[in-house]
């Protein structure tokens, strides 16, 4: 039963990650992505998915999807109904599932973050309804498959498990909130294992939206650079398998990292702009540290939300600088959006997997185009590939509407 609630455990269980799957413009899977993030490779190219000739910005980090997906339990008909977002989601989920080595179950929660779900299907529906109203073909299918819960059910069908689905759509914080919510479910005793992630595909409407806001960089996305001029969009998905430490040990599973802290709140300042002083960002980072039982001094790397827009980066920089205090002077910070763009609902989950990579492989992801720090940055920006001793990392995600989410991970050694 969802209610009455499972009694809170006396001591919340530790939550570890035993599977991770990732799809970005750097490639499909952990290896290709780790190789790319390790050197700060940039994955932007001219957008081919829709016409951008009349937009200010012309590039994005577009994923090369395989012509056929790896074998799964999905039928040909189901495969045919997957849009780009659904395909990336299934690919990431397959990788995570295989890595975790989980057995299928019928009560395994799936928590996903997305801003748009199958929006490209919605766009196709709209165009056909407008241009060929008498043509009904595929419209019913589009009306069903654009919905995020239906895409989530395809993950179930692909992997052979089932359970409650929760779709969180807190704009660009969605992926971070999805992992945080999964952490909550395990810590409060409502689940022993949870599959969680985030995903979003490039779409014409969203691209046009950010372009209309003049939020897209017409040059190069350079988060925290004094000369930054906007963000770049990307697409992708990441899925992680979370479970109690006890469950992982019982199975003898390989542990990729531990999720030790989560904070979330809402900034009511403006629909699209953060509070200039980053007050909610500050409180959410503090909240995450409190739940993790760590201080800023113990954070070895901070994966910033760092979109590359003037307003986000200055606000986040002020918040990080205040939160970190003296630690700021030596705290390595970078935004991996410099490599793969802003993945919107997928960002928080993908960046969580990047954090796991840094913890596992002991390096810091650089922003190689970074040149001059914004004056608000009291911390160093990682701008060259470097190995590092990384034990605890913090990842920020913020969204339109003001929801902020912070996750903290610890190395499993």
């Amino acid at each position: 039963m969802l209610f009455p609630l499972t009694p809170l455990p006396d001591t919340p269980p530790r939550v570890v990650i035993t599977g991770a799957g990732i799809v970005t413009a750097l490639g499909l899977g952990w290896k290709l992505n780790a190789a790319g993030f390790r050197v700060g490779r940039r994955a932007f190219r001219p957008v081919e998915l829709f016409d951008v000739s009349r937009q200010r910005a012309k590039i994005a980090a577009q994923v090369d999807l395989p012509k056929t997906l790896p074998p799964s339990h999905l039928s040909q008909r189901q495969l045919g109904r997957l849009d780009r977002a659904g395909k990336m989601l299934v690919l990431a989920a397959q990788e995570a599932w295989q890595q975790a080595g989980w057995e299928a179950a019928d009560n395994l929660p799936l928590v996903l973050g997305t801003t748009a779900g199958g929006m490209t299907l919605g766009e196709a529906y709209y165009r056909q309804a407008l241009r060929q109203p008498a043509r009904q073909r595929q419209q019913a299918t589009r009306a069903i498959y654009y919905q995020p819960p239906v895409q989530a059910r395809l993950v179930f069908d692909a992997l052979g498990f089932s359970g409650p689905i929760t779709i969180i759509s807190n704009a660009c914080a969605s992926g971070g909130n999805a992992l945080g919510h999964a952490w909550d479910l395990i810590r409060t005793g409502q689940a022993e294992r949870v599959v969680a992630g985030g995903y979003d595909a490039l779409g014409e409407m969203v691209f046009s939206g950010f372009d209309s806001l003049q939020a897209l960089s017409p040059t190069v996305c350079r988060p925290f650079d004094a000369a930054r001029d906007g963000l770049a969009l990307g697409e992708g998905a990441a899925v992680v398998n979370l479970e109690t430490l006890e469950s992982a040990r019982r199975r003898g599973a390989e542990i990729l990292g531990e999720l030790i802290g989560y904070g979330t709140s809402i900034d009511g300042h403006h629909l699209t702009q953060p509070h200039p002083q980053g007050s909610t960002t500050l409180s959410v980072m503090k909240q995450a540290c409190a739940t993790a039982g760590v201080t800023p001094g113990e954070i070895d790397y901070l994966n910033a939300h760092g979109t590359g827009t003037a307003l986000n980066d200055s606000s986040e920089a002020l918040a990080i600088s205040e939160w970190a205090g003296q630690r700021a002077a030596t705290l390595p910070v970078s935004s991996t959006k410099a490599s793969i763009g802003h993945l919107l609902g997928g960002a928080g989950a993908v960046e969580a997997v990047v954090c796991l990579m840094a913890l596992r492989e002991q390096w810091l992801p650089p922003e190689i185009e970074f040149e001059t720090p914004d004056p608000a940055c009291k911390f160093p920006i990682v701008h060259q590939p470097q190995d590092a001793r990384v034990n605890v990392v913090l990842s920020n995600s913020f969204g339109f509407g003001g929801v902020n989410a912070t996750l903290i991970f610890r190395r499993w050694a």
Binding site: P7, T115, G401
Partner: protein, 359 residues
């Protein structure tokens, strides 16, 4: 384990801008009139049940954040303010930390269509004022800004059954003492494209818009006398559990029904869509209320109306308990039971109104 109480309810529906209007329409028991909704390329309009213009412009629309907001935000805000009104009027609740969970299925379709239409015509002139209002999280954000003391906010997307997941999430936040009160709101707006899509999936259904809100709290002294008693598991549709089986599983989990209990179900006038839920409740002989038959297919808003109505009849002491049955369109089946906190059996069924409540 804390008890969870309902501190207030709110509604915007085709019947009007408050719970009283909703109650009046349901008591009357006659389907509300429909309005024509034109769609491009068709001479014959579709039918819809739209929210009427308010008799008096709500004061909250003067808030700077709501000036350009879409109707779904107006509905969400109005339902939220009504649900939280008594709590806000209580000095003892002045410093309450508030959570909000806004549940949506279609979400901000009006501005999404408008913005995409502008994009197709010429992206260089698509409005930057409209785009931010297209995101699912926009109503949540505006309402959080309006209420000011919101510390936790989630926007949940799903089929209508997800409203009860939102209620469970609110209960969880209360149990963990992260908030002292939590608003759970289900909201939808409509336009020609949602009506068109629904027409593809269910020709008998009439699209509707609005919102419903429950304000949950831990402390009984702030309650309307209604307590959340149970929410079933989420019985997700899958290859191994089809929609009728999920509905049966939900029904089975709600278990034995109390004498005189009211069933608030999600049946409309669609034989095919209603079949799974109808079969699950075929043994039900007690009173039953089906708000969709009067109000239309309000998607997530309709799920919220079911819960609002269930709580309302108990607050009005017409029933001592009410079950809510939500058999979603493509995700899951979930049920819930609300009870009167005092559960005085002498009030049971003493005042079963006529109209839409069918014994």
């Amino acid at each position: 384990m804390s008890k969870i109480f309902v501190a207030g309810i709110g509604a915007v529906s085709p019947a009007g801008w408050n719970v009283a209007a909703l109650r009046q329409a349901l008591d009357k028991g006659e389907p509300l009139p429909t309005q024509p909704l034109m769609r491009p390329g068709w001479e014959k309009p579709l039918s819809a049940r739209l929210v009427p213009n308010p008799a008096v412009r709500p004061e909250f629309l003067a808030h700077p954040r709501l000036r350009r907001a879409s109707p779904i935000t107006h509905y969400t805000a109005s339902a939220a303010l009504e649900a939280i009104a008594s709590l806000r009027a209580n000095p003892a609740a002045k410093n309450f930390r508030l959570g909000i969970v806004v549940c949506l299925q279609s979400g901000c379709v009006q501005y999404s269509c408008r913005f995409y239409d502008e994009t197709l015509k010429n992206p260089a002139t698509a409005s930057p004022l409209v785009f931010p209002e297209t995101v699912y999280a926009a109503p949540t954000s505006h309402v959080a800004a309006l209420l000011e003391n919101v510390v936790l906010a989630y926007s949940i997307v799903g089929d209508p059954s997800a409203f009860l997941q939102g209620v469970a999430l609110g209960a969880q936040w209360l149990e963990e003492q992260r908030v002292e009160a939590c608003l759970v709101i289900g909201a939808e707006e409509t336009n020609w494209i949602t009506a068109d899509a629904l027409h593809h999936l269910d020709r008998s259904a009439i699209i509707a818009a609005g919102a419903g809100a429950l304000c949950l709290c831990r402390d009984e002294k702030f309650s309307t006398g209604v307590e959340l008693s149970a929410i079933t598991d989420a019985h997700t549709f899958s290859a191994r559990l089809d929609r009728p089986q999920a509905a049966q599983a939900m029904r089975g989990q709600l278990g034995k029904i109390f004498p005189g209990e009211l069933l608030c179900d999600g049946q409309g006038n669609s034989p095919r869509t209603d079949a799974a839920e109808r079969a699950a409740w075929k043994d039900w002989t007690g009173p039953r209320l089906s708000p969709k038959r009067i109000l239309g297919e309000g998607l997530m808003a309709a799920a919220a109306w079911q819960c609002v109505v269930a709580c309302d009849v108990m607050a009005e002491k017409k029933f001592a308990s009410a079950s809510v049955s939500l058999v979603g369109s493509n995700q899951q089946a979930i049920g819930a039971r609300f009870v009167r906190a005092d559960f005085d059996i002498s009030h049971l069924s003493a005042a079963v109104p006529t109209g839409n409540i069918r014994p």
